[in-house]
């Protein structure tokens, strides 16, 4: 029961730490977003590796996307994919999370987030084809 709260607190503290006054003074506020996104990237890769260990192979990209949207998201946030936090800083980590998950499944992408109406949040995933 307490599991979800632990991550929430950690997440909040991380954001607080990255965006506190020290960073702003040295002009590093953009770097903070990048750092958070990269953190999410790494975590996404690891979580995907653990989760896909036992599942059968994905036939194509669509399968991989479906897995990411359903199983992966459920296991991380314990919610369906359409309820989320809203705040650009908070969104950096989940964006990285999705990008990391997809990259480990073989899909290079760019993930951006938009907040249209509170409390909904849309992630836009652009897949780059080589």
């Amino acid at each position: 029961m307490a599991d979800e709260v632990l991550f929430d607190y950690l997440h909040m503290e991380m954001i607080h730490e990255f965006f506190n006054e020290n960073y702003k003074k040295e002009g590093k506020s953009e770097e903070s977003m990048t750092t958070l996104e990269l953190l999410g990237f790494r975590v996404g890769q690891c979580v995907i590796e653990r989760l896909t260990k036992d599942s059968p192979r994905f036939k194509d990209e669509l399968d991989a996307m479906k897995f990411t949207c359903k199983d992966f998201w459920m296991s991380v946030y314990k919610k369906q994919i359409d309820n989320l936090r809203t705040n650009h800083q908070f969104l950096a980590f989940p964006c990285g999370l999705i990008r990391g998950a997809l990259s480990n499944l073989g899909i290079t992408s760019v993930v951006t987030a938009e907040v249209a109406i509170m409390p909904a949040c849309k992630f836009q995933i652009q897949i780059q084809r080589v």
């Binding site: 690891c46 260990k53 059968p56 073989g106």
Partner: protein
């Protein structure tokens, strides 16, 4: 006992190849390299029996006169290859599967190690 074990990355370069000490390493590097082609073929083949596609374990890739090569591909496109001697006829399919299972578990743990960057050569310190 496996004679050679290899872990190949998504981009098809080797992350880890280890052979028994008194064997000719180069020969196994070559065997592993050629088995990559067989793996690619198996992954991409449009199989009539879709069950085959759903499994991570690929099974016997190809037998040579001295050795048998087994393959396993994860969902993150990491390939594991095990080469065993043909004379060792007592090895069963289940045992090979469990060997791959252990390899996969070890690989997953390694990826979660914060000191390991994805794509690095695997070495123990």
């Amino acid at each position: 006992m496996a004679v050679c074990v290899a872990v190949i990355a998504k981009e098809n370069y080797p992350l880890y190849i280890k052979t028994l000490p008194n064997e000719n390493e180069l020969k196994f590097h070559y065997t592993v390299h050629t088995s990559l082609d067989v793996i690619e073929e198996r992954i991409h083949s449009v199989s009539k029996n879709t069950n085959d596609l759903r499994e991570l374990y690929l099974g016997l890739l190809y037998p040579t006169e001295d050795y048998k090569v087994y393959g396993y591909v994860t969902n993150s496109r990491i390939k594991f290859i095990i080469v065993i001697e043909s004379t060792n006829a007592t090895i069963r399919d289940n045992e090979i599967r469990s060997m791959f299972r252990k390899l996969h578990n070890a690989y997953t743990d390694m990826v979660c190690n914060p000191f390991y960057t994805n794509g690095d050569i695997i070495e123990s310190t």
